[in-house]
């Protein structure tokens, strides 16, 4: 039996818009305003909302793509893509098997995970000093 003979027709995801993505745009705008006023941004967990695949597509299209893309290789790939609205990042965390484990909108000037921790910077300095010592 050929695949086409099976009487199931696939529906395009656009049919499943719930209207929730639109509401989210307002929430992102409020977070951006807070970021400007206080320097404190925020994050919205996309996985924990009643959100259909079509909603996700709609939101991604409306937010668009910005200039910066950050790739983090730590326990699997994480991507931080700036949207067309600077300060709004589309964050996807994947595990080592390449499966997406969480997805969020982060509102910040730079995503928190991309910043180097002072302790790690200290370790980096130690490493450099060791290198220099070895060379001398």
């Amino acid at each position: 039996m050929a695949l086409d003979d099976i009487p199931i027709k696939a529906e395009h995801a656009a049919g499943g818009l719930t209207g929730n993505a639109q509401a989210l745009l307002g929430e992102i705008a409020a977070l951006l305003q807070r970021l400007l006023a206080t320097g404190q941004g925020g994050a919205i967990d996309l996985a924990s909302l009643p959100f259909s695949p079509a909603d996700r597509e709609w939101l991604a299209q409306r937010l668009g793509r910005g200039e910066v893309e950050i790739r983090l290789m730590a326990g699997g790939l994480s991507t931080f893509n700036e949207t067309a609205c600077p300060g709004v990042w589309w964050v996807s965390h994947h595990n080592e098997a390449g499966v997406r484990v969480s997805e969020l909108i982060e509102v910040a000037r730079i995503p928190e995970l991309a910043l180097a921790h002072p302790d790690d910077v200290k370790m980096g300095l130690e490493r450099l000093n060791n290198l220099l010592n070895d060379l001398n």
Binding site: E11, S48, L49, P50, A74, V101, H117
Partner: protein
């Protein structure tokens, strides 16, 4: 692994960076409905936490809960939590066997009295003095009565340990009961589900390690962070319920459009669990997303709660279903009548009453 070093140092030894750890904590925090900033705080606390001893006892169970947890996510990241605890006894995972294993159990209990966390999966058989389920010649009931009171806290993993589950299903031949029916004076966290979502278990352990206490529980002893809302509340198909758009059969236009499965028997509205947002198989899907209603496996007595395909708006009391059964039989025709008759015959022999609910399971 060096048991004395802090967690982050130990992880660094294994090639796991601070960012990997922070990423894991951020994901965990979001799953636990904590504010986004909690990830960093959790990471800091977890890195400093002392390493508590954990004993895992399997009772009347199918090992599905262990399967669920050990196959969760990528081993190294989910394993972070297992690096933060000292899992001293777990029959399925430990290398030791027989007398050696039993020795480890009793030594761990003696050395950590009042401080270890006891994880239990499976119900407790009480029939024939617990003889239906034994380990090393001792009944589960006996072992629980000895070890339970010495634990700091008990985590009942799976619907069986939490409520009695499938072993307790009618007519409950082994006299199965929940852990909380035997142990009354210890804090017990119930993590129901058949099986439970893996990250819920690691989340409870992470909470214990981070805050030094058990998470806030609801009236059935479940952590509110994961069981605070129904599947229905968090379901991506919820907006269709609100709009009155329902699939009427599993292959109609509504089903294809991804409409609400309420009329096909979805138990989402009365089931408290995190499936709708945490999801299964590394977050890829959950039953409703795959086109089947929720069967309510994390609720007490789900197996006896009426048919899986009966809408919640239909009466669940089997006694009231007799009239409905007759109508359904007439409509579907001879095949069902014969099945009913066969079932009736079997029921008569077993001195049980057959109901529509029995047939639909």
């Amino acid at each position: 692994m060096n048991r004395n070093g802090n967690l982050l140092e130990n992880l660094a030894w294994q090639g796991i960076s601070r960012r990997s750890f922070l990423k894991y904590c951020a994901t965990l925090a979001s799953l636990m409905a904590l504010p986004p900033t909690a990830g960093r705080a959790m990471a800091e606390a977890l890195a400093r936490a002392p390493r508590p001893s954990v004993i895992w006892l399997p009772f009347q169970e199918c090992t599905g809960c262990t399967e669920s947890i050990t196959r969760s996510h990528s081993p190294s990241i989910e394993g972070l939590i297992f690096d933060a605890i000292s899992l001293d006894y777990q029959e399925t995972l430990m290398a030791a066997a027989g007398h050696q294993a039993e020795e480890v159990l009793h030594k761990t209990v003696a050395e950590n009295e009042g401080r270890f966390v006891l994880i239990i999966d499976g119900s407790v058989a009480t029939g024939l003095d617990g003889a239906y389920s034994c380990i090393a010649g001792r009944s589960n009931l006996d072992l629980l009565r000895e070890v339970g009171p010495k634990a700091a806290a008990i985590v009942a993993v799976g619907s069986c340990a939490a409520y009695g589950g499938i072993p307790k299903a009618h007519p409950n031949p082994t006299g199965a009961v929940a852990v909380s029916d035997i142990i009354k004076d210890k804090p017990i966290v119930n993590i129901p589900g058949c099986p439970p979502i893996p990250v819920v278990m690691t989340g409870v352990l992470a909470h214990y390690l981070t805050f030094g206490s058990l998470p806030e529980l609801d009236r059935l002893g479940r952590p509110r962070a994961f069981y605070g809302e129904t599947i229905h509340d968090r379901c991506y198909r919820r907006p269709f319920y609100d709009q009155g758009k329902f699939a009427k059969t599993f292959d109609d236009e509504g089903a294809r459009q991804g409409w609400c499965l309420f009329e096909l028997g979805c138990k989402g509205p009365v089931t408290y669990n995190a499936c709708a947002h945490v999801k299964w198989n590394d977050g890829s899907s959950f039953p409703i997303q795959s086109g089947h209603g929720c069967i309510g496996c994390s609720e007490p007595d789900f197996w006896d709660a009426g048919g899986f395909y009966k809408a919640l708006s239909m009466p669940a009391d089997p006694l009231k279903l007799v009239a409905g059964a007759a109508v359904a039989g007439a409509a579907v025709g001879v095949a069902v009548s014969i099945a009913n008759r066969a079932r009736k015959g079997a029921a008569k022999a077993a001195h049980e009453t057959a109901t529509l609910a029995d047939l639909e399971k």
